[in-house]
Symmetry: C2
Subunit: 222 residues, 2 copies
């Protein structure tokens, strides 16, 4: 059995959880308090972050992007990156957009300020950081609207890792209650499809003690 070291509101960890679910690979979750910087965990991943996937024979794989590419190579069905090189380049471009740009411009601000700071006793949320995160969220939701108006899935007609990367981020932001879904009907339709996938359901059951999600978070009809 594989083990995934993760954090509940780490979008990178959520992305790998969904990929494992899509590929029907069994795994157990192990929450890692990355801020404690345990030497045993740093030995698995010197970057000190989650996710880290432990393979059955014990090898540790780190970095969400490297893990997803690895899973695609070892479990090619169903394909999540596509077949043609240009199609694959577009899936990977969108993954980088959500994994890196959305994470840095939105999730890091909102999840850190609204949840992690309180959780770690680091003081009050910084309202300026929250304002920046919310402002950036508006641009990103506009881009997601543009994409979902044009195609059934983000990279085109086929479900892919790009949808998983985006939904992993969106699910963290939706947990802290920051998305006004009525403003984004196409994104809402897309996210409703994501929520109804069996691979996504476990994320909707996530529940951080002392910081419950809004009621609509787990609703398939939101």
């Amino acid at each position: 059995m594989r083990t995934l070291h993760h954090l509940w509101l780490s979008a990178a960890s959520r992305k790998v959880r969904i990929v494992l679910g899509e590929k029907k690979v069994a795994f157990r979750l192990e929450a890692e308090k990355t801020w404690e910087r345990r030497p045993e965990f740093l030995a698995l991943n010197p970057a000190g972050d989650v996710p880290v996937l432990i393979e059955p024979e014990g090898q540790a794989l780190a970095d969400q992007g490297a893990i997803c590419e690895y899973l695609e190579e070892v479990f090619p069905e169903p394909s999540l990156i596509g077949n043609e090189p240009k199609e694959r380049a577009e899936v990977r471009r969108l993954c980088a957009w959500f994994d890196q740009k959305f994470e840095a411009e939105v999730t890091r601000f909102l999840v850190t300020e609204k949840l992690m700071k309180r959780f770690l006793g680091l003081g009050e949320p910084d309202s300026r950081a929250i304002r920046v995160g919310l402002q950036n969220l508006t641009s990103h939701m506009a881009y997601l609207s543009w994409l979902t108006e044009r195609h059934h899935w983000l990279a085109g007609g086929v479900f892919s890792l790009a949808d998983i990367a985006a939904a992993a981020q969106i699910s963290c932001i939706d947990y802290v209650g920051d998305i006004d879904w009525e403003q984004y009907p196409h994104v809402k339709d897309w996210y409703a499809k994501m929520k109804s996938r069996p691979s996504f359901r476990p994320l909707l059951g996530d529940h951080i003690p002392g910081a419950p999600p809004p009621k609509h978070y787990a609703d398939l009809d939101f």
Copy 2:
């Protein structure tokens, strides 16, 4: 002929230039002033950053990671990511380390403060930001020392994209003169091998008007 939209001290652009060189793919360079946010360029890459590779038939590919994976798929020889999935996961983990972690913790601070601010007329360098960048550089050079003491190349016995990702970052920092090479003999040996590769030579000829590199920058024997 392909066109690569780039910036001289964008490590991501340098990485793609080296990959194109290793795979002996002809291309012309086009410098893009990304800060001007030209609508024509944003139409090629809504993220607005470089590198962007224009394929011969005109399609634009964006995001350095997606471009490198694409080039590996379309020009598989020489292989830069390796053959076995676990080996490939290690190459990609190290790429993420340098592309993202080193970039965010070191290059963004030092290159932005020392060159881009002056170049764009954004005022004096922020000495605190430079101090943070230099401090982070020390940790990263220690990690590079650890890697280069153990193996011939960063991911093991074989030259890979990990070496390219790291050397692309290091070359930007070396351009601004911040590496005390005498402190890091193993990294120096590794970087000397990188500098002598034909794919790397064009980068050593880069010369930003008004901000020349230190003399040792282009020396193969530094």
